[in-house]
């Protein structure tokens, strides 16, 4: 079926919405990557089986959705309209959940309980993790099945496109985005409207490109994946609106090869949009044409950089090049190209439907809208959280994230991935936005927020990022290639007890030069992990150098393992040791042979009696 006009789309939406509003109860099950890893496919299968065998489909329906964000608690089942939120469900729990949903009751023991207070929540919206968020983008994920365009349309999807096509003024579109104050969610925070305005002004006889950057390379960030997997049509709609505003003729979604489900859902969504006439030639009979194709990346962090991404789309090595000329002037195949990240595109339909003025009210001045963070690491509630710009780190970490997992105190968060920096706990009152983060020596990046506690060594973390960057640098600029290698070398010396105070000065000097002399954005920021840890955690560096001690007990060469009197001789550690370094009679205290020990820490992790000590 092809929709030939805006009216046909509106009409069809009301038909679909009526069908959906039958008031039937529904079980929503997340099939995002994380939940699939936790076993949601089995839950889905069990639910299908129960619904079909018991012939319950006239009373209860099943919706398979994308990521809801609370990945820690997966797999889960959400019931509608009850809003009961069952966590860590197993296949055998399914019949009970179905019975309860039909009767309007609850399966008490499966409901989410706050791990610290033990309080039980009957309504999903009351759970602190969800209650303290403002989910303008992610909310849609639980309402739609990503491979069914009907769901998206019934929930008001493509209304933004409708509005744009009825206003019939490209300049208005660009002005709305400018007025909304949306800044690029990919990292640097460049105003999206401004970028579009520049693209609209470019003249080109061979067409112009719009690119959706879905090469989410920042380790620790996965919001783009969740949007692509859970709501691919929001990206498509955003790009069509963008094309209308800027006069772009083709679109490309550059997506990581590591995200197979996202690629699958996006492929299906594009096909459905084309079939309905929402994409391709003469969109909704309005005489405007635009199509999108998918290009898969092949695993290169540097391809998140605009000019490298363009080269990769052209099928070349992903080496960045000097700007100017900017991609807006000369991008893919020399044509003007505007690149925005996934989350940016997902914001576009929201801006158009709600209106720029409404949108600009969210967040703070110069930093409007919400931002999705992936709150991960040493924190109780890991998952995706969407909050208005300007929320403090403390609110995110404690009110939404639920604070630390164990006894160890949280000491810092790392934002912005390998290009970002660390923010110490003493600065947790910082209101998060592009400008405040950059003043604090970090960056927003794509929104990874990795929480670290006392058991995380900051020198080791800096070393981790340098290892990452020396492998991921494209290698073209000498200072980036060699600089990251040399910084790694120095950090490695420090973490193995060979560091000196001169090393520290050299490290700092080198970091500044790398920042100054490298060409692309990724290279310039590659020194940030070193500079920010030196700025806030110099004492940890000094402890490694002066006292040969790793305060977090992470750096193995500075550690030694021993077994104390708590040992009851259960032999668990001996069995687990891969180098046979542990000796001892059964029911007798065991000993570690330091000459064999490789300090892997396995013995400590298997000991139930706190008998293995590290110092």
């Amino acid at each position: 079926m092809k929709l030939s006009s805006i009216e046909k789309l509106t009409e069809w939406r009301s038909v679909l919405a009526k069908k959906n509003a039958s008031g039937k109860s529904c079980l929503c099950i997340c099939a995002g990557t994380a939940c699939q890893a936790s076993g949601s496919n089995e839950i889905i299968r069990a639910t299908k089986r129960a619904l079909i065998e018991r012939r319950l489909l006239d009373r209860l329906s099943l919706r398979i959705t994308g990521c809801h964000g609370f990945c820690e608690m997966g797999p889960f089942v959400l019931t509608e309209p009850q809003q009961a939120f069952y966590t860590q469900v197993k296949a055998e729990d399914v019949p009970r959940i179905i019975d309860a949903a039909l009767a309007g009751e609850y399966v008490e023991e499966l409901l989410y309980k706050d791990p610290s207070t033990g309080q039980k929540y009957y309504h999903r919206g009351d759970i602190p993790f969800f209650k303290n968020q403002q989910r303008t983008i992610l909310e849609a994920n639980q309402k739609i099945d990503p491979i069914r365009i009907h769901d998206y349309i019934a929930e008001g999807g493509y209304r933004g496109l409708e509005k744009v096509l009825s206003v019939q003024d490209p300049v208005w579109v660009v002005e709305e985005v400018k007025k909304a104050g949306l800044r690029g969610r990919g990292g640097a925070g460049f105003p999206t409207g401004l970028k579009w305005e520049m693209l609209a002004k470019q003249r080109s006889n061979g067409g112009k490109f719009l690119v959706c950057n879905a090469d989410e390379g920042d380790p620790g960030a996965y919001m783009d994946r969740s949007i692509l997997e859970g709501n691919p049509h929001s990206i498509i709609e955003g790009m069509i609106i963008g094309a209308y505003g800027t006069g772009a003729t083709s679109g490309v979604v550059y997506v990581r090869n590591e995200y197979p489900i996202a690629i699958k859902h996006l492929t299906a969504a594009l096909q459905q949009a084309r079939t309905l006439g929402l994409l391709g030639g003469n969109i909704l009979g309005g005489g405007f044409s635009f199509d999108i194709e998918i290009v898969r990346g092949a695993g290169a962090f540097v391809c998140g950089e605009e000019t490298a991404l363009i080269r990769s789309i052209e099928g070349k090595m992903g080496e960045p090049r000097q700007r100017p000329p900017f991609p807006i002037q000369r991008g893919i195949n020399g044509k003007p190209t505007a690149i925005n990240n996934v989350e940016t595109w997902a914001n576009i339909p929201v801006i158009i439907v709600r209106g720029a003025d409404e949108y600009a009210k969210i967040g703070t001045k110069n930093n409007s809208g919400t931002k999705i963070f992936s709150l991960v690491g040493k924190i109780r509630n890991t998952g995706l959280v969407e909050v208005p710009m300007g929320m403090t780190i403390k609110e995110i970490v404690y009110n939404i994230g639920g604070g630390p997992v164990g006894k160890a105190q949280i000491k810092a968060v790392q934002t912005g991935g390998p290009s970002g920096g660390c923010i110490p706990a003493s600065m947790f009152d910082l209101q998060i936005d592009y400008d405040s983060l950059s003043r604090a020596g970090s960056i927003m990046g794509s929104g990874g927020m990795i929480v670290m506690d006392e058991n995380t060594c900051m020198v080791d973390l800096a070393k981790y990022f340098m290892r990452f960057l020396k492998e991921e640098s494209c290698g073209k600029c000498f200072t980036c290639r060699k600089g990251t290698q040399r910084m790694y070398e120095i950090l490695d010396d420090i973490t193995t007890g060979k560091g000196t105070l001169e090393h520290l000065d050299l490290l700092e000097e080198l970091a500044h030069v790398v920042k100054d002399t490298t060409m692309c954005g990724l290279g310039q920021t590659s020194a940030n992990p070193v500079l920010s840890t030196l700025r806030y955690f110099r004492d940890e560096y000094l402890a490694h150098i002066q006292n040969s001690r790793c305060p977090a007990q992470v750096c193995k060469p500075l550690l030694s393992y021993s077994i104390n009197n708590n040992c009851i001789g259960c032999q668990a550690c001996g069995k687990a040791c891969s180098v046979n370094a542990i000796h001892g009679e059964r029911k007798q205290r065991h000993f570690i042979d330091a000459s064999k020990c490789i300090k892997c820490g396995t013995c400590r992790s298997v000991c139930k009696y706190d008998a293995v000590e590290a110092a």
Binding site: C474, G475, F478
Partner: protein
């Protein structure tokens, strides 16, 4: 699109031709800028970063490589500011640690006042400036060698490390190499000036038995003997 633009280089307000790079403009005016990866007749690449200059003012001042940055109307360029010199010195120290045997690098380091070697010395004997790759492709039309891998593993050589069918053994790659040609046989990197390296023929052609006499390609284009 030809025309003139007005730029300020080291305080000198001059008109230069549009389309020129900063490096060309500065050299035209007689300001020396050191560079290792630039050569007339080959396309600019910007790999060695040695030719950085400072542009812009105040908080927006930044370093860019002059060999790839085009002149713009009103551009203010400083080719030898403190920031530029500090960066160059560090780059040279890094280069020297990777390629202590290159006379060109040794001389540049000495000229820029590099007096110490704080990094662990390596003998990579290649700075991946890409002159040979561009020479092979753009002047010799052979495309026998190219970049392989990325990051720390990046190297230059032939595909699959076997002799390339398109290589004509012209030696152009060795002719342009700043790290390989005119290498210094003096093995003490702290000494800025090394003597006695007037040899113009690459020793590997004479099947030099010394293992520190390197040729950066495996196998060497000239002698086709594998490294080691």
């Amino acid at each position: 699109m030809k025309g003139k633009v007005t730029v300020t280089i080291n305080g000198l307000i001059v008109e230069v031709e549009k389309g020129m790079t900063i490096l060309e403009a500065a050299q035209f005016l007689g300001f020396p800028i050191p560079t290792l990866c630039h050569m007339e007749g080959l396309s600019p690449y910007g790999a060695c970063r040695l030719c950085v200059v400072e542009i812009g003012e105040g908080a927006r001042a930044k370093l860019v490589t002059s060999c790839t940055y085009p002149v713009e109307e009103g551009l203010k360029v400083r080719t030898a500011s403190t920031r530029v010199l500090r960066a160059r010195k560090m780059i040279l120290e890094l280069l020297l640690a990777s390629c202590p045997q290159s006379k060109i690098i040794q001389d540049l380091a000495a000229a820029h006042g590099v007096r110490q070697q704080r990094f662990r010395q390596e003998h990579e004997d290649c700075i991946l400036c890409g002159l040979c790759v561009r020479m092979c492709e753009e002047q010799m039309m052979a495309k026998a060698i190219g970049f392989r891998n990325r990051g720390e593993k990046r190297s230059i050589g032939t595909p699959f490390d076997v002799h390339s069918e398109t290589c004509r053994l012209c030696g152009g790659c060795m002719y342009v190499c700043p790290a390989c040609q005119l290498r210094c046989t003096y093995n003490e990197p702290e000494k800025a000036i090394c003597g006695g390296c007037e040899n113009l023929t690459p020793p590997c052609i004479e099947k030099d038995p010394f293992d520190d006499m390197m040729c950066y390609m495996t196998p060497c284009v000239a002698c086709e003997q594998p490294k080691n």
